[in-house]
Symmetry: D2
Subunit: 289 residues, 4 copies
């Protein structure tokens, strides 16, 4: 019963001819299921992402202080998350908003991960940050707004660390896979895709989680695909349900924002989970883990 | 474990003050959670929709012949579906496409339902069809394109049968609830909402399933809400995953298109499930049923 | 100079082969440029719409009283508008909003039109209104929310009066032309298309005027196409500019909401022009008239 | 008559209180009309953009050879365009598409501009290109996909040359102005906004030109705003009409792709105008110039 609920589909053995034909016309090759029929696995220290593995990434939107990131790391570990997130260089639509702690934050994040035995992931926004971020972080995230920052993608081909590539707010699935292709074609095969909601006309949620993107990506590509329900929903109360839905459609993982005191968060407070709510979420998704 | 996977949230006992305040400003009253704090239950013969109940509606896009609808009814019954669907008056974008079998189809659908002990649901497109459709069908469906056909909604207030109200392709959630309000304010409290995908920019799927609409609706309204993954995806291969996701976010049911020979269907063949695929779907969603 | 600014393109003499090939695959035939290479002209009493003619329709969102519609008619006539608009059956998203004056409003509108020598246009929302609306109004309007109310479209094929068909908020151009085909295939060739804005993600305007729909429609169809900048913008201050743009891309006309006291309007006040602003608009578009 | 068609609205003398109040809540300050009530003028050599000036930028999508850019420059000059465009670093969704001639192209563009007395504009995609692009080009363009590449925007604050900031395919107008604010807050007040179409559901045009963005921007900001109908439409046959519409709503300029042989272009051939069609366009917009 549990197995059915988990819904792990095995890697395909062969592709249907109609799919092969469709994939042959795509502009991406290395990212295509056509050229790598089995699911790819991406290793981050001892955590494996992809295939039958199911991964939870948790942490604050932004690293704000040593105490805050340590508390989050302790909580992530305790609840069974596998990877710690925390933004250091923050892409903010206004130049007057908090822009992140930068390199200082990177060090705090790295230490927190080490303290609790969790690999860490953080966003890299510019080519000249790649080296320092790759030094302190186990995974490098490309944000939605940079999904087609092609020079950054090229540079990440040489970064030597796996990349989490978020889907742009208005990117088609094929454009997203073509951006993965940039990283891969420049030398880095370890790319994890992350669906985080697209823009649409209803303002009930911050963005619209395109849940069917997960099976579509899994059909066209062998790369792992995870979901970020926090940015999709923008409101904490929908995140547990959307996490369950993410695993239900076969996502390889979820990325969740948590904060000891969301009402005091320097960014994205309304979508951050208090620790007890994160505990409830982990319980709710436990059948899939 | 199973219970966790099913994720049945009980009806709320009280509403958070911030939600109450938000709901007070809405233009819908009867449909609002504010005025009916517990989940509503809608009874269709012996089938109950809403609350802790989980319902599967299955059948062909359109009734095409006696043999076809009988085969579908037998399969629906055998796999454990609760209600039989089948279109008789078909809203087609072209006047030259198959427009449905009309009243003749209604009778075939009614007979198939009786033969297999399944209540039936079919679409009503115009006021002058309400009487005859209500005579032969247990549930009356309003299609996405008619979600704001206000005169039809008014007429359905007097139909004496429960209504399935599909969300328009471009309707906000509040507009959708306001359309439900039309039916309710004109005398019919038995409204079931059906999310069926919205329009967006990526053509990988026919429409974009707005999965977060389910928890948003459940927060704002006491009415049952179901999902139609067939019209959302438009391609059979994504429907099993999206069905699982629908239950995972707490939908009260799903509506699935099946056909003995999808490649010969007069409408919506590509999104119709063959019987063996429907069997696999029912197995996959069984933890929630 | 003036002629260049007006930009009246003559009807094409022949179609480019690539266009012919594309049009052959469309599901609309009677509405297609392929089957009627010259621009169609629609006559409404002595007003001709289409081809080289440029038409201004003006009036209140809704008929509210005899005084109000008479004032608007006087102003429309004085400023050189050709047709008087005024809603009598109003499609409102909430059942508790003002629903229009109905048949009483129709009579007031008809009288105001006769008093000032202006043909009138008003919306018809349901089949059972077609006869009475056709009796009192010279043009029958189908609203955006009813663009795919196929039973209504069929009924309008027999209405004996020209139809203004608004584009749905989420309708593709081909779906819009297919809806026109419904009216035409059921006996009424006098269809005027009206672009009124589509839904998108930016809330700066009520809807997003899809200005390029005008040249796209004129390429694919011989039917007249007009623009309703009032509903597209939703704010009076953008309407003059958008009216100019509409004529600049070759629209055959514009439909403008005016009101003697917009701040007291029962519907759509924010997008209604005061009379002096309408005068300024008519001066601004005069090079095209 | 001509003056009316041109529709140059003078800079406002005062702002309506409701607008002031709305602008006070925005996150952009330097870009806001609130803080600079008169239209800003941006000078590029002897060309002035903004206020009452109307500017035409023309050239190929990408610089492909010396001969090609020289031909385009000669044509641009002859038809009265004011600035020469030509891409050297090309943002392409696939890593296998033509990526531009890079620095070699920059030099060809610069020479062509000098030969014909036209300032030049080209795209800069990454921080490490800013210096070399600023050396050879008079205006630096930020592409739609980089609108929220905040590190690039910061670097452009120090570039010493005016910036053309294209709107992202899914950016709200306020996000777009906030991106301008990044450039301005980091030292560069010479920002020109460029509307180039947003994404929507109809595939008749490559993107949907949001024509009402022009009056909305002019209300909220003092910065010049131009339109790129070539990328919006994606098809040459709609570009003349959309150019006229751009000036009709008050845009300060247009940016047009031309090519001696569009069918042989290495990028964006279908939206590039042959020289005789560009001549027709310049004639059509001449009342505004």
């Amino acid at each position: 019963l549990q197995k059915k609920a988990r819904g792990h589909a095995p890697s395909p053995q062969t592709l249907p001819p109609s799919l092969s034909e469709a994939l042959e016309k795509k502009s991406y090759k290395l990212a295509s299921r056509l050229n790598h029929i089995e699911d790819s696995l991406v290793s981050v220290n001892e955590v494996v992402i992809g295939g039958d593995h199911r991964t939870v990434i948790a942490g604050p939107c932004a690293v704000e202080s040593e105490g805050q990131i340590m508390e989050c790391a302790a909580q992530a570990k305790q609840q069974g998350a596998h990877i710690l997130r925390g933004g250091c260089f923050k892409p903010r639509s206004s130049p007057y908003s908090f822009q992140g702690m930068g390199v200082e934050g990177l060090k705090l994040l790295e230490n927190a991960g080490k303290e609790y035995g969790l690999p860490v992931v953080t966003e890299v926004m510019a080519i000249d940050q790649v080296e320092v971020v790759a030094k302190h972080s186990d995974l490098l995230q490309v944000g939605a707004r940079n999904m087609q920052n092609f020079d950054l993608l090229r540079a990440l081909g040489k970064a030597g660390k796996p990349v989490v590539l978020k889907r742009g707010l208005m990117a088609t699935i094929d454009e997203w896979l073509s951006s993965a292709e940039y990283v891969m074609a420049h030398g880095n095969r370890d790319v994890i895709l992350c669906e985080r909601g697209i823009r649409s006309f209803d303002q009930s949620t911050r963005n619209t989680l395109d849940i069917s993107a997960v099976p579509v990506v899994k059909e066209r590509s062998h790369l792992p695909v995870i979901v970020d329900p926090s940015h999709a929903a923008g409101k904490w109360q929908y995140i547990l349900d959307l996490s369950r839905a993410s695993f239900a459609v076969g996502a390889h993982g979820i990325m969740i924002e948590i904060h000891p005191k969301p009402e005091e968060a320097l960014s994205d407070g309304p979508q951050s989970l208090k620790f007890d709510r994160f505990e409830a979420l982990m319980l709710a998704v436990s059948p899939w883990l």
